[in-house]
Structure formats: structure tokens, C-alpha cells
């Protein structure tokens, strides 16, 4: 069996607003659009994914929060409705997803062997979080690839962003080994915003783009610092400053997703593909990808 490999890593933010704005048939709410910079970036990255041969998507989500270890979805099918507890007015999504249980079990096993506390989630009534659904829908609206969803263990809450960085890095190494052992070609998805301070009010029409801007300039400057480093292929340095960045911007990187993905990909020293940056209800959202194949790597923006 050939060794498995990571064929692409995607930073894919999950504000439900982008799904709402797309008006897919699965979502009950209807919009007049909005957040085009992000949506068009997502559309372009989705087109790139269509050109890549892969077996499964593995997504690390901040909205399945666990405090007792790292959990993995462990049943082949989940079909239900996901309603965003914060933005129920815009996201009520009927989903029908398949899971690559073999790959999930392999990741759980290898992570466990490396000393990480793990658990398979096998309750059929479990509801899939809106982070997983938003990122996966925007990257693959056809939903024709199986997923593995990994919960985010909240080390930053219990200990510190430094501990989060170490633990998420170890999980990334374990997942990379599991992928290699599986013989599968896998797309990794780190599902989160960058800076993550929200406005606590919402305009009467959520998609009113005249009201949308970053929460404050400090958040913007920090986000751009990270984008510049990503363009420069400095992912080791990005992860090194992650604790400082996370604390300064209340960033959603606190969940560990970017650290997990960069660790699994060996901290790329090549340029990230930048697909778009835009604020959503004050938070900073970047769509980016890391393509290990130099021949297909692009300068997008």
C-alpha cells in the first residue's frame, strides 16, 4: 500500500453568514447575499479542490468543544439539522454527511499511542456543529467526500495558549502519521477565524454590508501581520507567535486548529495561497491554502 499523504491544507473560517449568503437549498434562512470577498474566495478554492484527487476531508472544529481529551466522529452517517445557537436567524442547515470511520479510528488510535487523551464519538443522536458544516459546505458544496471531524480540546482555557500550541502540535503529528499509515489522500481543514472579537449587536438585515467592518484597528493590524508571514512561507514563526497573537486578538486560533494543521504539514516554508480576507460581525476571516505540490501552487491574491 502506498503511503497516505496530505494533499492540501485549508484555513477555512466558518461564520455561518457565508452559508446564509449563498442560499443553498439545505439552509432554511434566505438572504440577499453579502460577504462576497469571502464567498468568492471560497468558490475559487472549491474549484481548485475539484482538480485534486483526494479520499477524505479531515476538519478540526472549534465548535465541538471538549475538555476531556480529543474526540473523533465515529459513525458512518449523520443526518439531522444544525441550528447555530448564536445566529439561529441565519443558519438552520439540514445536513446529510458521511464519515470516514476507518481514518477517524486510525487517528484516534495513533493519537492515543502518543499519549493524547482520545475518545470516539458513537452516539447516533450527536449533532454536527455548524463550524464543520460551514467550512465543509463552502469547500465542497456537493458533499461528495467523507469527513473526519476532530473536536477541539480547550487547553487554552484550562492551561494557556502555550500549552494549547504544544498539544495541538502533538495531535497534528499523530494525525499525519495516521494519514500516512492509512494510504489515503487527505485534505486538512482548520476551521476558524483569525481575530475573533464580535460586535454584540446585529443590523436588522444581517447582510447589510454597509455595517460590516473589523472590530478595531488593532485586530486588523495583527491579522495582516499573520497574512504577511503566511505569504512569506514563515509558518514556523506564525506558530511560534501564536500564543501572543491569540491573546492579543482573542483569536479563534485558541482552539488549536492552525497549529494542528501546520504541525501535520511540517510547518510549510512555502507561500500560502491567499483567497480572501473579510470581517464578519467584527471578526477577521482569512481563507488560505497550503499546497505541498510546487507544480500546482498558485499566487491567488
Amino acid at each position: 500500500m502506498a503511503k497516505g499523504e496530505i494533499v492540501l491544507g485549508c484555513l477555512a473560517p466558518h461564520p455561518p453568514h457565508v452559508v446564509y449568503a449563498e442560499n443553498p437549498e439545505q439552509n432554511e434562512a434566505f438572504s440577499e447575499g453579502g460577504w462576497e470577498t469571502l464567498r468568492w474566495g471560497y468558490n475559487r478554492l472549491a474549484r481548485k479542490l475539484k482538480t485534486i484527487d483526494y479520499d477524505a476531508m479531515v476538519i478540526f472544529t472549534p465548535h465541538w468543544q471538549t475538555y476531556i481529551g480529543t474526540h473523533f466522529l465515529g459513525l458512518p452517517e449523520f443526518k439531522s439539522k444544525s441550528v447555530d445557537p448564536v445566529f439561529p436567524n441565519i443558519f438552520r442547515f439540514n445536513y446529510d454527511i458521511s464519515v470516514d470511520v476507518d481514518l477517524a479510528e486510525k487517528m484516534c488510535e495513533v493519537a492515543g499511542e502518543s499519549g493524547i487523551v482520545t475518545k470516539m464519538m458513537r452516539n447516533p443522536d450527536f449533532r454536527i456543529d455548524y463550524g464543520t458544516i460551514t467550512s465543509c459546505h463552502m469547500l465542497n458544496p456537493e458533499w461528495d467526500k467523507p469527513l473526519v471531524t476532530i473536536s477541539s480540546n480547550r487547553n487554552a482555557h484550562y492551561y494557556s495558549p502555550e500549552v494549547m500550541n504544544e498539544q495541538a502540535g502533538a495531535l497534528g503529528l499523530a494525525c499525519a502519521k495516521a494519514i500516512e499509515d492509512s494510504g489515503k489522500r487527505v485534505v486538512l481543514i482548520s476551521s476558524h477565524s483569525l481575530s475573533h472579537r464580535h460586535f454584540v449587536t446585529e443590523s436588522p438585515l444581517p447582510e447589510d454590508m454597509s455595517r460590516e467592518h473589523i472590530y478595531n484597528h488593532s485586530q486588523y493590524v495583527w491579522d495582516m501581520k499573520l497574512v504577511d508571514m503566511m505569504r512569506g512561507g514563515k509558518m514556523r514563526e506564525v506558530i511560534d507567535i501564536m500564543p501572543e497573537y491569540t491573546e492579543q486578538t482573542i483569536a479563534e486560533t485558541e482552539a488549536g486548529g492552525l497549529t494542528w494543521m501546520m504541525s501535520a504539514m511540517g510547518y510549510p516554508d512555502y507561500s500560502a495561497e491567499i483567497y480572501g480576507y473579510q470581517s464578519v460581525i467584527g471578526t477577521g476571516n482569512l481563507i488560505a491554502a497550503w499546497d505541498p505540490m510546487e507544480a500546482t501552487r498558485e499566487i491567488v491574491l
Binding site: W64, V117, D125, E202
Partner: protein, 307 residues
């Protein structure tokens, strides 16, 4: 003006073990028995509303209030999914929910009702309502805990609840769903060996329970910042339940407190406490923080001075 008719308050933990696995340890069983005592008291009371403030329902856009007349789903906890599913169907007092929203807005808060099929009611609310009001004999209402809200906003939210109870002439039982210390073990444990995560957490929990036992609710409210720093995992900006409970029930120490159970829940501190308004008091103290009546939003200090 007459005072709102708040019959008593219940402080109880959000974890699912007392509902799903009370037999797994003596402690979980004790908590379940304490819930049962509260259930009977509620049943025997003349309450026509159970108002729940849940720390496991975080909100961002202001304060959300459940207003679906019969929310129904099968809930599964993110961490404790292996303990089983929690099917629920509740009876919500929609008229009260709307009055609560209006009262919150009248005091300057951003607030909205939510009434969507499949809305994910949180673990804490599900556990509390299933154990305290299993037959839905009394209509309920649930309010979220805004993740950015601090003292002023939370106290004003409590006063809004009080306004709505008074305005509607309800006889209310106030339920706060929150652990005491909230640090859980980060490994899977044998429930029979469950204990409070650290001696420090245990000591603080017992101090808090002394206050509850003495009926010193407002004193606890004033201690909230200290409690947050000492025994709360820093997930949100502040420990808010005592602020909300005191502002809703009445900001004083005139209560009869009953600590019905105190046990570990995967390392965190779980207590079931009842507080009944009383004429007896341990006395009120002078405090140096303003009592807030109206929420004016962010103060915009960054815009007012040169940096």
C-alpha cells in the same frame, strides 16, 4: 409599588451525570436526590413560571431568550456523549419571554427571543428542566449568558427579569444553572473515584456554600470577581450567575439557604442549593461598586482620550 413574587431560587449544576447516570457514583445519586427535593418543592409551590439562567448557553448578540412554545429535540452533550441522549420537550411561556425581552430592551440591553425548530437548547437547561419539571407542569423560560457581558450588563439583565416577573404578576421560581469551581479532570475517570479537582477548589466551594447556607446572596454577588479569579476556568470574562441571581431575586441577604447537596462532577463542584426569601437577615454591608439600573453600552474610553 409591589415587589415581584419570587417564591424561591435554585442553584444547580449543568453536568448531565445526575440525569443520565445517577447510579454511577454515590455523589451523582446525592445530586439527583437533591434535584428531586427541589422538584417536589416546586410542585408543592404555587409557581406559574420557572425562569432559567444557564451558563452553558452562551450568546454573542445580546441576550437571547427562548420563545418556542414547545421546543423538542434529542440533545447529546459534547463531552459526555457516551452517557446517552437526552430527549426533551419543554413548555415555554412565550408571553413571558416576550415581556422579558421588552423589559431588557427598556433597560438598554440588546435582547431577542429565539423560536426556531431544532434550536440547540444547552445541556444545563435540559438537565435542569428535565429534573426539576419533568412533566412540564409549569411553563418555563430560558435566558442565555452573553459571553462578553460583565457585571453591569448582567445585573441589568437580572433587573429586567425582575421587571418582567412583576409586570406579568407571575409567581416565579428562579433557577441558575452553574457549577461552582468548574475545572474538570482532563482524563476519563472512574465515576466512583470522582472528587473535586483540587483542595483549593474544594475550600472555595465550601466557603461559597457557607454564604448560600446563611442566605447571603448579595454578599456572593459582591464576591463574584474574586470567585472568578480563584476557581473558575477562564472561559468567559466573569463569573456571572450570582450577579444575575441576586439582581433577579433581590439584592440583599434576607434569604433562608439550604444546601441540599455538594458533590464532584468529573472534578468540578456541583451543588444544589435552595434560597427562599425571608425576613431574617445576616445584615447587609456597604459595597463600593455602583448598583446599575440601566445599561449604557461600552463607554468608548479609547475614543475619549489620547493614547
Amino acid at each position: 409599588m409591589t415587589e415581584p413574587d419570587i417564591l424561591f431560587g435554585v442553584y444547580c449544576p449543568p453536568h448531565p451525570q445526575p440525569l443520565l447516570s445517577p447510579e454511577a457514583s454515590e455523589g451523582y445519586g446525592n445530586l439527583r436526590d437533591a434535584y428531586e427535593t427541589c422538584r417536589k418543592r416546586i410542585e408543592e409551590s404555587e409557581a406559574d413560571l420557572i425562569l432559567v439562567y444557564s451558563t452553558t448557553w452562551p450568546s454573542i448578540i445580546g441576550h437571547q431568550i427562548q420563545a418556542h412554545p414547545e421546543p423538542e429535540w434529542v440533545h447529546v452533550d459534547d463531552d459526555f456523549h457516551f452517557l446517552g441522549s437526552m430527549p426533551y420537550k419543554f413548555r415555554i411561556d412565550v408571553e413571558f419571554a416576550e415581556a422579558f425581552r421588552d423589559a431588557a430592551e427598556a433597560r438598554g440591553l440588546q435582547s431577542r427571543t429565539v423560536a426556531y425548530d431544532g434550536f440547540p437548547i444547552d445541556t444545563g437547561s435540559v438537565v435542569a428542566l428535565k429534573l426539576l419539571n419533568p412533566e412540564n407542569r409549569i411553563p418555563a423560560c430560558i435566558v442565555s449568558s452573553n459571553m462578553y457581558a460583565n457585571r453591569a450588563e448582567t445585573i441589568v439583565l437580572g433587573k429586567s427579569a425582575r421587571d418582567a416577573i412583576q409586570g406579568q404578576g407571575k409567581k416565579a421560581v428562579v433557577v441558575v444553572v452553574s457549577s461552582l469551581s468548574n475545572r474538570m479532570f482532563t482524563e476519563h475517570i472512574d465515576p466512583a473515584e470522582d472528587r473535586i479537582h483540587s483542595a483549593k477548589d474544594d475550600e472555595w466551594n465550601r466557603k461559597i456554600l457557607e454564604f448560600f447556607d446563611d442566605g447571603r446572596l448579595e454578599d456572593l454577588s459582591q464576591l463574584s470577581r474574586e470567585i472568578h479569579g480563584q476557581i473558575r476556568v477562564q472561559k468567559v470574562v466573569a463569573y456571572k450567575p450570582a450577579w444575575w441571581m441576586s439582581a433577579t431575586m433581590g439584592q440583599h441577604n434576607n434569604y433562608t439557604g439550604e444546601v441540599l447537596a455538594y458533590e464532584a462532577l468529573h472534578g468540578s463542584g456541583g451543588a444544589v442549593v435552595m434560597l427562599t426569601p425571608s425576613s431574617e437577615t445576616v445584615g447587609d454591608k456597604e459595597f463600593d461598586e455602583d448598583d446599575v439600573e440601566h445599561y449604557h453600552g461600552d463607554r468608548g474610553v479609547l475614543d475619549k482620550g489620547a493614547l
